[in-house]
Amino acid sequence: MPQMNLAEALIDGLIWSLRADPRATIIGRGIAGHGPEHAAEDRLKQEFGSRIIDPPTSEAAVAQLGTGAAMAGARPFVHYGTAVFAYEAWNQFINEAANIHYMSNGQLSAPVTFHLFHGIRGGGGPQHSGSPYAMYANNPGLEIVLPTSPRDAKGLMRSAMASNNPTIVIQNAQLLGLTEDVPAEDYSIPFGKAVVKRDGRDVSVIACSRSVIDALEAADILEKEGLSVEVVDIRTLAPLDVDTIVASVEKTGRMVAVDETYEICGVASELIASVVTRAFSALKTQPVRVGRPMTPVPFSPPLEAAVNPGTQKIVDACRRACKR
């Protein structure tokens, strides 16, 4: 099995998608970012250069170009780079792509994939550190995919490109370098299936995106203190696999929800609500929420670190949930 970093795996998933479906097309460049992993994109350019276009800086029209093309039978993959640039296309994501299947009563669908890099990335400052997926999740009709490992990235990308719905594949740019063995052949991973990344007895940490990696680190630290932490990666925010989450919390009796979006109306809030409204009695202690505090992301490194819901905050939250 070859080793791939997350960027390479993502590109591999795209390549398989383009091989499988002649309607698939790519709008955008810099799909593997502009960091050290950017070269992963070369394979895609070599094999499918003629199916890639490099659009102007016109985010709104580019979103709509992808949506309109999808409605007319193409399978566009639209890359935005930094997620915040897609704020310019808010209407196009929400009002057009997400609504069209429903409001046409199933006559049309918009199988477009939007690809974004989100999150605190080191010096992004207030305008380049946004994580908009909680806002997207507040709208029906969009599928939201948050890969955290190379294997998942490949398989989930494949499902995104095959999906008949507008799908947002959004990942923390800092994960692009993560490396592991990835099957060379074509495979896909279905949406709506959370995965238990680490078994534990005392507390369930339910997380997504970057926070999964932080949670695994926190679990290592806590193991040394004798706390056994289970880590669940939701993988897709929409659809959300509430069953797996609830099963985990029923097993451990304690819950920490952690995610990089803002605490208020954020993903962690939704995760807690989904457990409390379904399995309140399974909880032995009050659930703990870890998210971004309600402040813009500041530029300076010490300030930036203070808003990042990283490993230490998860460790503290687990201790609190377990009353340590």
Binding site: S58, A61, Q64, M103
Partner: protein, 334 residues
Amino acid sequence: MAKPSHAERLELFRRMLHMRRFEEMVIRLAQAYEYTGRQHLHIGHEATGAAVAMAMRAGDKIHTTHRNHGYVIACGADPGRAFAEIMGRRDGLNGGKGGSWHLCDAERGFQSTSAMVGGSIALAAGAAFALKLAGSGNISFAHFGDGTLDEGVAYESLNIASIYELPVLFVCENNSKAGQRPSSMLAAARLQDVPAALQIHCELVDGADSDAAQIAFQKAADRVRETGKPVFIEATLERWPGSHQVKAAFPTGVTDLSLALNLDKVEGKHADWIKQSDPILRATRALIKDGVSDLVGLLEMDAKVNLLMEDARSFAEASPFPDASVAFTGVFAS
């Protein structure tokens, strides 16, 4: 291009009558059911809409705006299902989920209607992109009002259509009128200056002149098919006095074809619009003058259309409201 044949001119007129009588029925339904709401009627735009629809071929796609009813009908959608949709009924074109603003008949290439000013132009560029990729030779049509050119997304879409040579025919219905509240505030002296600055071929047509429109849109569509590049047509229109009505009404009365030969009898506040700007009366006169038909022949056609609309209305009225459970289905495609 040669002048259209008699048969083609009659077909255009037939579609125009369908459009007009449909909208008049929408007014009556609004009055009867008191769902006055905001209907954006296509009255006065029929020559343009019908000419566009006739330039479409099987496999072409069209995206429209809030002022969409005429186009749906001109493209051949079932008027009964269209009424039912506007009334939110189960048998509506969208099962009641879309309403007036989102009528959709994908089978006829009538893609979604976007109620967002600027929505249709960008989606149509996308459709053209897909059609170009598919290599089918089909083209896409973007219908929008002058207001769309106030939106940045329109400018972005025109730029993209130009650089990528997308096969799209931009149909701008310019009914902006000084004096009334204008529907756009573009500083450009002429709307076409915007696409022209982006190197898109532009044409201007009197959108209420059915013959001119029929020729212009056919020619433009041919040009898009031949060159694979976008064309922009500005169709000038005199805004119908009822185009922004909140309370359903017939400000220019129910259309009477025989007035075409008795224009001096027309009086009242909106006499000018009826005499000079009503495309139906203008077409009636032209068809009679050119010997394509006589008045009786046209009245006969009109009577048939009226009957059809009455049947369509009955169909819509008989259709029940959808079951509430349907509200939760169809959010995602399977």
